[in-house]
Symmetry: C2
Subunit: 119 residues, 2 copies
Amino acid sequence: MGTLITEGVDASADGLSATDSLAHPALEEIELAAVLHALSDPMRLQIVAALAAGDERTCKSFELPVVKSTCTHHFRVLREAGVIRQRSRGTKRLNSLRREDLDERFPGLLDSVLRASRA
Amino acid sequence: MGTLITEGVDASADGLSATDSLAHPALEEIELAAVLHALSDPMRLQIVAALAAGDERTCKSFELPVVKSTCTHHFRVLREAGVIRQRSRGTKRLNSLRREDLDERFPGLLDSVLRASRA
């Protein structure tokens, strides 16, 4: 996968291990197959559709009917594929859609998926 | 998954079991998550991009660097998701893209994926 842009997590603040850093693929490292895989789960599609509204949101704010670890997993898949950006603020993780990056890398793809998800 | 449109396979002709019939989801049964999953593999993306040229092709004609059973698997995932149509002719299976169905169900999606696969 090559070099990753890594944003460190303050381990003491949120109890995360040092290896649980927030790695994001750079724009040119975003792979189509990985993006499609990340979007191929109904719950992740729902998360992406909600983030498309533009707000930065915490995992918890989605009130998904799953345990926290499953929620964390879905967000990690989305981040590692380059679909969302995650940043730590205190004990929280804020999530936002990498819309501009995705539009630049794969023009029209995200829009057509979002439109399809509303169909 | 609901009712499937099934095209029977002449078991005596190609040695397939009776359960290995060629089930295709109807247009309204094609699910976005399943389509994205089917497209989320580099080899399946390659198959779809090749079928987008319009010809009906056999599995073998792709000369993919995998064993026959893997090839068969990829085509089955694409068919069950509603991405391709398969029909039997003698001992062969002919594959074609369900472009019109996909365009009707999820406008713009296939085109944006094909464009992205060439990026």
